[in-house]
């Protein structure tokens, strides 16, 4: 059968799952639920595979299916586009999505959500998420992409707030949604600009229009195109948690771990990267914006990593790590190495999902404990989890041969060599690599090594997770090892497999460079300085190893698990560079108390001055507007009414009931008339 024309079925499958869950879920038993939902995702995974394989067969490696028109005004259809880029994405989404579903069946097994039946609702939302994610990556135009874009946001809101009765969860969900909305505002405007410039919002047409090289510097250098790209990028920062809009992601960890794994590590947060890669033609045309992207990416990477160094909540560490890795991806995109960005996205999906799931299994074992300071020595208790996470940590740290190594190394190399890149960015990336290795292994050591620090009760409870959870872990572990092999550096020798991904993605991106070249002179294919590449590779490996050993030294030798280290930096990092306090300062104190002391507030509980601050600001404004509404706008109305009533009395009391005052008024009238005759005429 022809999978290519059925690609629209890929998103539909999970949608059906979701529909069934949300409509009849209450009547279904957990068993049925845990068959239907992963099943639906599996189905779309199979469909995707088939489609991708057939796609590979095609000469022109793109295939579009248009179902029906959606927004005539914007020429936006329900149309699906399968090309190398989206094929990678759907495989990641469906594949990893499926594994996480399976994992979740185990993880949520004794999850009692709101009243009875949180289970089916959880899976309903999960499927819904997959549906939207697939719509996002399969869409053949921006508005439809935006549908998925918003949809995943919604699902993340629902899934984070899944613990209905945890207020913090609700807040986190709300914050996530609103922060994303801020990004979306940029995205929407960006779309409009794009439509105005290119006259269409279909990826293919937009790309053709942009590549037709009819745009001169006046559009591309700080011109309308730069603005467009920038707006789109703002949208991306919202979704992919880049500076300054990253604040929602760490709190999103309030959600159940599978959610964190699926949404906040593997798929949704990478939507921004995907979107930028999608718009590569645009970014390639606008070097200034690309610089900004790269800078933001690098900054985020190093910034988040530094925060990750000292977090004690196992999931928060991973959260910041995710932010930082996303930074990497944007760095790649920013320097014009789009395929590398996608490459890292794809490898990262494996090991980060694995790490989260592992962490989930740890928490599972620790019966809910998330603070690493109360862990330790789990190595022997939960061997599978340990083993898989070990691999993942190696991978993310960038130990040669594993997935993380290849992608990260490629990013660093591109940053160094690409005409859009620069040495400074490389340094940032390099440091990030060092820190990454450090905090990941800090996590490992604090969790699995050393002697147990948990209380007896929990210790007694500890047990390996059920098969449904461990099997996915293992699969992902395998993935984390091999995933990188299709993107090896050219210095390892060139062939169709070793640079498989690059070649596969070539049709989407390669031409991007050419355009950039044509338009701006940037992006000329880098001349290959082989020795340099070897040197850099060595350096990064060195960084990874030293990071690991440093961690080992501090947390195994010095047993610094529960002691602050790093001197003055420690509090700064622990408080996430006081960003939240900064936002607080800007938005809250700055306005209310006229500036509280920055250093005074040391409690991490003050989460997200940023959003809270804006929320506070908003609330202030709305208080004012409400006051205005009650007292001015409405006040005037009521005042008129009142004054009419008030005026009514004098007029009535003119009517004294005394005949002669009537006569008086009468004569006054006469006088008035004649007075008018006298003077008036």
């Amino acid at each position: 059968m022809n999978f290519l024309d059925l690609i629209w079925l890929i998103p539909i499958m999970p949608l059906c799952g979701a529909a069934i869950m949300l409509l009849f879920g209450r009547k279904l038993s957990k068993a049925v639920v845990s068959i239907i939902c992963p099943g639906s995702v599996l189905a779309s995974f199979i469909l995707s595979l088939g489609a991708v394989i057939q796609l590979a067969g095609l000469k022109e490696r793109t295939h579009q299916v248009v179902l029906f028109t959606w927004l005539p005004q914007l020429h936006a259809d329900f149309g699906y586009l399968l090309d190398p880029l989206s094929s990678v994405m759907i495989l990641v989404v469906t594949g990893i999505g499926f594994l996480i579903h399976v994992y979740a069946t185990g993880y949520m097994a004794h999850e009692h959500g709101p009243r009875h039946g949180g289970y089916y609702r959880f899976f309903g939302y999960l499927n819904l998420f997959v549906f939207f994610m697939l719509t996002l990556v399969l869409a053949n135009n921006y508005p439809l992409l935006f549908v998925g874009w918003e949809g995943v946001g919604l699902c993340s809101y629902l899934l984070i707030g899944f613990y209905f009765n945890k207020k913090s969860a609700g807040d986190a969900g709300k914050k996530a949604f609103i922060v994303n909305r801020i990004g979306d505002a940029g995205f929407i405007l960006g779309m409009f600009f794009l439509f105005q410039v290119t006259g269409s919002l279909r990826f293919t047409e937009v790309t053709d229009a942009l590549r037709s090289a009819r745009f001169g510097p006046e559009e591309t250098t700080f011109g309308i195109l730069s603005l467009t790209a920038l707006l789109l990028f703002i949208g991306a920062t919202g979704k992919s948690a880049q500076l300054p809009l990253y604040v929602w992601l760490p709190d999103a960890m309030e959600g159940p771990t599978p959610v964190s794994a699926l949404i906040h590590a593997a798929t949704m947060v990478t939507a921004g990267v995907y979107m930028c890669a999608r718009s590569n033609a645009l970014f390639a045309l606008t070097p200034e914006t690309s610089h900004i992207v790269a800078a933001v990416g690098a900054a985020t990477a190093i910034f988040a990593a530094s925060i990750g160094l000292v977090q004690n909540d196992i999931k928060r560490v991973l959260a910041y790590s995710t932010v930082s890795q996303l930074g990497y991806m944007f760095l790649a995109v920013g320097v014009g190495a789009y395929w590398v960005g996608i490459f890292h996205l794809y490898t990262h999906a494996f090991f980060k999902a694995l790490l989260f799931l592992g962490a989930g299994s740890v928490i599972h074992a620790m019966s809910g404990q998330q603070d690493m300071r109360h862990m330790g020595g789990l190595r022997s208790k939960i061997p599978i989890t340990f083993g898989t996470m070990f691999i993942a940590s190696l991978a993310i740290a960038g130990i040669p041969g594993l997935a993380g190594f290849f992608s990260k190394d490629e990013i660093l190399w591109q940053t160094w060599s690409s005409p859009l890149g620069s040495k400074v960015l490389w340094v940032a990336g390099f440091l990030t690599a060092l820190m990454t290795a450090f905090y990941m292994w800090r996590l490992m050591f604090m969790t699995f090594f050393g002697e147990p620090r948990m209380d007896e009760k929990t210790k007694h409870h500890i047990h390996e997770s059920p098969k449904s959870m461990t099997v996915p872990l293992m699969v992902l572990a395998g993935g984390s090892v091999v995933a990188g092999w299709i993107g090896m550096p050219k210095v390892f020798g060139e062939n169709g497999f070793m640079q498989g991904l690059e070649h596969w993605l070539a049709p989407v991106f390669e031409s991007g460079r050419e355009v950039a070249h044509a338009a701006t002179g940037h992006g000329a294919p880098a001349h290959h300085d082989t020795t340099m590449e070897w040197v850099l590779m060595g350096l990064s490996i060195g960084a990874a190893l030293s990071g690991i050993f440093l961690a080992r030294h501090i947390y195994l030798r010095m047993k610094a698990a529960d002691r602050p280290t790093g001197g003055f930096l420690y509090p700064v990092l622990l408080n996430k560079w006081y960003v939240d306090e900064l936002y607080d300062f800007l938005f809250v104190n700055g306005l209310s108390k006229g500036g509280g002391t920055l250093m005074a507030k040391f409690d991490t509980n003050v989460i997200d001055g940023g959003v809270n601050g804006t929320a506070w600001l908003t609330r202030m404004v709305s208080r004012i507007s409400m006051w205005y509404d009650t007292w001015i706008v409405d006040g005037i109305v009521n005042l008129t009414a009142f004054s009419v009533r008030a005026l009514s009395f004098p007029v009535r009391f003119l009517q004294t009931g005394f005949l002669q005052s009537y006569a008086l008024v009468f004569v006054a009238g006469v006088l008035g008339i004649f007075g008018y005759f006298w003077w008036g005429r």
């Binding site: 009514s648 003119l654 009517q655 009238g669 008035g672 008018y676």
Partner: protein
């Protein structure tokens, strides 16, 4: 027939004669036949018959005019019958008839049921006849006084009721004053024109420049007298008291008949003979109109006595109608006619509901007496709704077209600010009309009250007024044609 009393004279005068005849007949029969107040309601038949005959006579006149066209003058120019006067005659006729219909129960309830009442109603109508048809000062003045004096009596008809006496006295004294001024103005007009015929006066006004002091004096005093009769501010002070004190049925008659008749005269004088002096009197009317609208609306807003409230609303309406005269173009005059026609029916209707509220030992003229009317008597409630909505000038009721014409004429003649002013005050008026509506529909009465004092006649009256109010709002075409006809010279 003699030269003094030609066939034409007869033809023109006939309706008045009939009315007077039946009026006197009523008085006589009352003295002789019906000692028992309960039977006196049969005297209503005289009124109905009288109106029927008069109606027939009017119809013949109408017929004649519409075939031969133009107008008929009689008593060498003392009387005139044209479509204009006929229009008003119809109004008077309807008014008297409906008032008669809604009266008898009321009069019985208030234990003042005398046959004179119906006689006086008809004599008053006879007076109005000369206001609309008179074309000569003396006839007009005497007709005016006949009407006025009759009203003095009618207002004081509840002799044992202090309020009624007081109302009558106030009305009489102020009325005397005003008619004194009116007469003074007439005398000056006569002196200037050397004749009492409106035609000559018209000639005189045309020949003299508008600034002529004596003419101004004449104008001023005449205007005072007439504005008093239509209860326009600042000569309105009598209205609320007289309206409140008078028997409700009489109040209706006063509010509609007297006002319509005086407007008939005012319009004829101002647009006809005194037309040339427009520059002098227009500002007066504007001022009076504006004042009336302001005072009428404002005072009504917090009024708690329904009759008084309607009195103020009447003042307010007088203001609007005056605006029509101010505009003075055909549209405006048509507007005045239509407005008066609608005003007749809606006001009569509202008052007839009030008469039904008057029960033994319950004046029924407080707003709270309307509470829960909708529950008590849905028919009356809905009727009241129609009248009030129409008074507020909201389509699809007749009141709307009155306002419509006034606004249109103001716009046509470029009085934009007046138009906006008038429009704004419509909102204010709605406020108090809806206080009544609210009482009828929303509020509920505190303690149980006796059943409404209804009667067949009252129901008929309500039916006529209600239907007419709606018809005028939904299919005014024939009436518009009539108005058009009556302003065409």
């Amino acid at each position: 027939m003699s030269v003094y009393y030609t066939a034409t004279d007869h033809f023109v005068l006939l309706p008045a004669l009939l009315l007077a005849l039946f009026g006197c007949a009523t008085l006589l029969f009352d003295f002789w036949v019906f000692p028992d107040p309960k039977q006196r309601r049969w005297l209503l038949l005289f009124l109905v018959l009288g109106e029927v005959f008069a109606g027939a006579a009017y119809w013949r006149q109408y017929d004649f005019l519409s075939t031969h066209g133009g107008e008929l003058t009689a008593f060498n120019g003392a009387l005139i019958v044209d479509h204009y006067s006929l229009f008003f005659h119809w109004i008077f006729l309807a008014t008297t008839l409906i008032v008669g219909l809604m009266s008898y129960k009321y009069m019985e309830v208030s234990e003042e049921h005398h046959g004179e009442y119906y006689g006086l109603l008809m004599l008053a109508q006879t007076g109005m006849f000369f206001l609309a048809s008179g074309y000569e000062l003396v006839a007009i003045f005497i007709g005016l006084e006949t009407m006025a004096v009759t009203f003095y009596v009618l207002v004081g008809f509840l002799r044992s009721d202090k309020r009624s006496n007081e109302a009558a006295l106030k009305y009489l004294l102020l009325g005397g004053l005003s008619s004194g001024f009116l007469a003074y103005g007439f005398s000056l007009l006569y002196g200037l024109a050397g004749s009492t015929k409106l035609a000559d006066i018209g000639r005189m006004a045309a020949s003299r420049d508008a600034g002529d002091p004596i003419l101004l004096m004449a104008l001023g005093t005449t205007a005072v007298g007439l504005l008093f009769k239509i209860s326009a501010a600042p000569f309105h002070m009598w209205a609320p008291d007289a309206y409140e004190g008078a028997p409700t049925a009489v109040t209706a008659f006063l509010a509609v008949g007297s006002k319509a008749a005086s407007f008939a005269l005012l319009l004829r004088l101002m647009v006809g003979p005194l037309g040339p002096a427009r520059v002098s009197w227009e500002p007066i009317l504007v001022a009076a109109a504006v004042l009336s609208i302001i005072i009428g609306n404002l005072a009504a807003v917090t009024q708690t006595n329904t009759k008084r409230l309607l009195a103020y609303s009447g003042i307010n309406h007088a203001g609007y109608i005056l605006l029509g005269i101010v505009a003075g173009n055909p549209t405006g005059i048509k507007g005045v006619l239509i407005y008066l026609l609608v005003y007749t029916f809606m006001t009569l209707g509202a008052f007839s509901v009030l008469t039904a509220l008057t029960r033994k030992g319950l004046a029924g003229d407080d707003i709270n007496d309307l509470n829960g009317l909708m529950k008590k008597a849905p028919g009356y409630g809905i009727a009241m709704l129609i009248f009030l909505v129409s008074l507020a000038g909201i389509p699809p009721t007749g009141g709307f077209f009155g306002k419509y014409y006034i606004f249109l004429s103001l716009i046509e003649t470029g009085h934009y600010n007046l138009a906006i002013f008038a429009a704004l005050f419509v909102a204010v008026s709605v406020y108090y009309y809806f206080r009544l509506i609210r009482a009828v529909f929303v509020d509920t009465e505190e303690q149980e009250t006796p059943a409404l004092s209804t009667s067949f006649g009252l129901k008929v009256g309500l039916g006529i007024t209600g239907v007419m109010t709606l018809v005028l709002g939904m299919y005014p075409e024939p009436f518009l044609r009539l108005a058009q006809l009556s302003i065409s010279r």
